[in-house]
């Protein structure tokens, strides 16, 4: 369970990233966060694992405050939260399996990591994770030889190897074409359903959101302007909130005017 309690975030330059957010996300949910560029989607997601610090309020993950966690506790909590990035963030020069295994470091001592040797069980887990995203045959390939969609699935496998209880995905398909988009989103959905991992995904596109989410949260200028099941997120409703701006295809989405925050 993830709880936001009166959370606000003001960037050092005065921009309000989040404004007094109160929201609870339950275990097993597949939540999609939608909103225009600059709405605060990344800020929202990154404050959950504290890649961004919030300036007010508190966030609880599994009942513990991550906001108040100190260095060691924070790392222990991050271990249970997997993250997937728009730019994949793989170490390109190393093999796929090494990237997947890097999800395991939270479980090991610094010394062991320095040697770069993992227990057998970890390798097995990594291979199984790769099997789940249908990439096991690429295990010993260098990551930069993979296509974008494949790289993104490697980073999904990394969160699986991490045995995360929550997966955060910040625009995981924004740099992919429609076909690979489907593959990646299908993988995320399958993992969410089979393993019951709470999944929170940021998306630009409302049609993909509707297709996969169990719940949609709409953000605008750092505030929650919509929160409800997919069925309630009708075109009409969203048009009311965003004007006609929330688009459904990539080409048009690029022309969406940037929403300035006050």
């Amino acid at each position: 369970m993830i709880e936001f309690k009166n959370v606000s975030k003001t960037y050092p330059n005065g921009t309000k990233g989040l404004k007094d957010i109160n929201v609870t996300i339950n275990p097993g949910e597949f939540v999609v966060i939608v909103g225009l560029s600059g709405a605060g989607k990344s800020t929202f997601l990154r404050s959950i694992n504290r890649l961004h610090e919030v300036t007010e309020g508190e966030i609880f993950v599994g009942g513990t405050s991550i906001t108040k966690a100190n260095g060691k506790q924070l790392r222990r909590m991050r271990r249970d939260i997997g993250m997937i990035f728009q730019q994949f963030n793989l170490v390109k020069r190393t093999t796929v399996i090494n990237n997947v295994l890097s999800g395991r470091v939270g479980y090991h001592s610094t010394f062991r990591t320095m040697l770069g040797i993992y227990p057998k069980a970890d390798t097995e887990l990594a291979l199984q994770s790769l099997e789940r995203v249908n990439l096991v045959e690429k295990a010993y390939t260098r990551s930069d030889q993979l296509s974008g969609g494949q790289q993104q699935r490697v980073s999904i496998a990394r969160t699986l190897a991490q045995e995360a209880k929550v997966i955060l995905a910040d625009e995981p398909v924004a740099s992919l074409d429609p076909l690979t988009t489907t593959q990646v989103m299908d993988d995320l959905k399958k993992i969410n359903q089979e393993l019951g991992i709470t999944t929170i995904v940021n998306l630009h596109f409302i049609d993909i959101a509707r297709q996969y989410a169990t719940r949609i949260i709409g953000l605008n200028a750092g505030e929650i302007v919509f929160d409800g099941p997919v069925e309630e997120a009708t075109d009409q409703k969203l048009a009311e909130i965003y004007g006609q701006k929330l688009e459904t295809t990539e080409e048009e989405a690029k022309e969406v005017p940037y929403v300035a925050t006050s």
Binding site: N49, L51, G71, L74, R75, R76, M77, R78, R79, D80, I81, G82, M83, F85, Q87, F88, N89, L90, V91, K92, R93, T94, N98, S102, G103, V105, G106, T110, T113, M114, G116, S155, R158, Q162
Partner: protein, 263 residues
């Protein structure tokens, strides 16, 4: 009113630059002593040339030691060890001096200053000081190269660290990795090929330096060379010069090949 004056100013600047350059040249060339020629100069040059073209082949290998091969081996060993030491020692400096690893401007600045300070301190002078500390011989040469090369390698390494992709580090932090684990798994794989390539490049430079360290007594082929020169044994000078050239060319080739492989 302002505009027409602008070119004038520029002309003034050029006059200043070229004028001071001219003065510098007059000063520099007028001070060169042209009477310094020894009358034997022509004779000696001829002797050196004939020495180089009829080198003392026997010196290549002498059973009792102190020959060309052993001198070159010593030179190579000094360069290998000195380069390795500096490659290890400069890593902390590199991270210290790179912008993306330090948020504080101050630390980066001091790191960069340290490195440029070490760089301007000549290795030969370092070798002289190390000779005073550990006595004459190869070890002083190793230490001098090891210390001096930190300056350049640290600078190159820190530039390499500055251009890495921050994404993987962020991804690792998000899995709950600590600082050192992030360095090992996200930063190291990105910078290692660059580090190796620069180290090889520095090795090429250090080999040249190592071949002259012996002139001041810090080991390597330089010592027999300066002895041969002082005793005017030009055939021996010839073979040593040939040996140095061949070794440097070979090592450059191998190192260049390896550098292409690692990237």
């Amino acid at each position: 009113m302002i505009r027409p004056q602008k070119p004038k100013k520029k002309i003034g600047l050029y006059i200043l630059i070229y004028g001071s350059l001219l003065l510098l040249y007059i000063w520099a060339f007028s001070g060169v002593p042209m009477d310094g020629f020894k009358d034997t100069a022509g004779q000696i040059s001829k002797a050196i040339f004939s020495g180089i073209f009829s080198p003392d082949w026997d010196y290549v290998y002498l059973p009792e030691g102190e020959d060309l091969l052993r001198g070159l081996l010593d030179t190579l060993a000094i360069a290998v060890l000195g380069t390795f030491i500096s490659a290890i020692l400069c890593i902390p400096f590199a991270f210290w001096a790179s912008k993306n690893m330090n948020r504080a401007r101050f630390t980066t600045g001091t790191g960069k200053f340290m490195l440029s300070f070490i760089r301007t301190f000549p290795e030969l002078v370092m070798a002289l000081l190390f000779i005073k500390a550990v006595g004459p011989g190869s070890f002083a040469g190793v230490l001098a190269l090891g210390l001096h090369s930190i300056g350049m390698l640290g600078k190159l390494f820190s530039e390499e660290v500055e251009v890495i992709d921050p994404g993987p580090s962020e991804a690792l932090a998000a899995t709950g990795a600590n600082k050192i684990q992030t360095l090992r798994l996200a930063v190291l794989p990105q910078v290692l090929p660059g580090f190796i390539s620069y180290t090889l490049y520095r090795f090429e430079i250090n080999l040249r330096s190592a071949s002259i360290l012996g002139i001041i007594g810090a080991g390597g082929i330089g010592t027999p060379l300066i002895f041969a020169m002082q005793s005017r044994d030009w055939e021996r000078v010839g073979i040593i010069l040939l040996g140095i050239i061949v070794m440097v060319v070979l090592v450059d080739m191998i190192s260049g090949f390896l550098r292409k492989r690692v990237v």
